[in-house]
Symmetry: C2
DNA sequence: CGTTCTATTTATAAGAC
DNA sequence: TGTCTTATAAATAGAAC
């Protein structure tokens, strides 16, 4: 018997599953290439396969192109964005559209270019890692803020810094040394 | 004549191109769904189409799922990663692998859960926006550092803060008010 | 094992409505 | 202009090497 009807469910047979994965992965990339070519539309496909060596497969193979499409994806605002008053997040929210417009207008300036050499050491970090950095900075600010407050520094500055929630950030184990 | 052989090149006829785009976009998403289902592999597809209303189409439609796959993509290190001594980036780099392991091990703990309510107001921001925040924090630190330095504060703290490159961050126009 | 080979299913370019 | 139809190209599951 050849070519049984396709049941759309997880293939339990490991061998058959891997064979199908290899075939269809190739097919999916080809379809992405065709659609992108025929209609001149930027497309990227990311396939995560923990069992394979490379683990992560992308189309197109050029990481920069994938990066560009992801950046565009990121710059599109969510519909249901929760508001929160008096946080740095809110303040930035007000500038969100402007930031997005900048991103679109400056597509020729890659992200790396925009942030110049400052950005170079952070470009490779993902969102979680950037958040780790924010946590660290937040900790530093918390310490510094306390110091300044005890020195009777300018209140407007400390007020802004205070808008950062600095609680429940303990025990992260970063910079304990 | 029906179903001519397919020439893999840009379709100049606008009407025909749009028809093909709609059909093949649907087909591509279906293929992604099938591969993902049959082999239980996380996949995401991002299609950018400036001519359409929504501009950006994704599969799966759930933004959080797409976000997760992109985060994984980002967490895979580039081959040619440039090093830079004495920056926070370098310090974090040493912990990069550990962070990644944590990310993979704690897949059940969503990012939002991990960062608790502190994270809530930042979860909706993309990488560029997080970088903006870093820039702002950097600026704050720069100001505060100057103040502390002039007050002869603890040197170890100021040394750490100083490791942050704070130059060439001018003119961003954030927090000018 | 990995490759190649069909029988079929599936996708889809044009046409019809 | 958008659906529906249909002939044909393309993808691919399982078998055969």
């Amino acid at each position: 018997m050849e070519r049984a009807k396709l049941t759309m469910e997880f293939i339990t047979n490991e061998k058959a599953r891997d064979t199908t994965f290899q075939k269809r992965k190739k097919g999916l990339k080809k379809k992405a290439y065709e659609l992108s070519t025929l209609c001149d539309v930027p497309i990227c496909v990311i396939i995560y396969h923990c069992s394979s060596q490379s683990e992560l497969e992308i189309w197109p193979s050029n990481r920069e192109k994938v990066r560009k499409i992801i950046d565009r994806y990121n710059s599109v605002p969510k519909e249901n964005q929760q508001k929160r008053a008096h946080t740095l997040g809110d303040i930035l929210e007000g500038r969100k559209r402007k930031v997005e417009q900048d991103l679109f207008k400056q597509q020729k300036n890659s992200t790396a270019t925009k942030y110049s050499n400052w950005h170079a050491s952070f470009d490779s970090f993902d969102k979680d890692q950037l958040m780790k950095m924010l946590l660290i900075l937040d900790e530093r600010l918390k310490t510094v803020r306390t110091r300044i407050a005890s020195m009777k520094g300018s209140e407007d500055l400390t007020a802004l810094i205070s808008s950062f929630p600095s609680d429940n950030l303990q025990g992260l184990g970063l910079f304990q040394s």
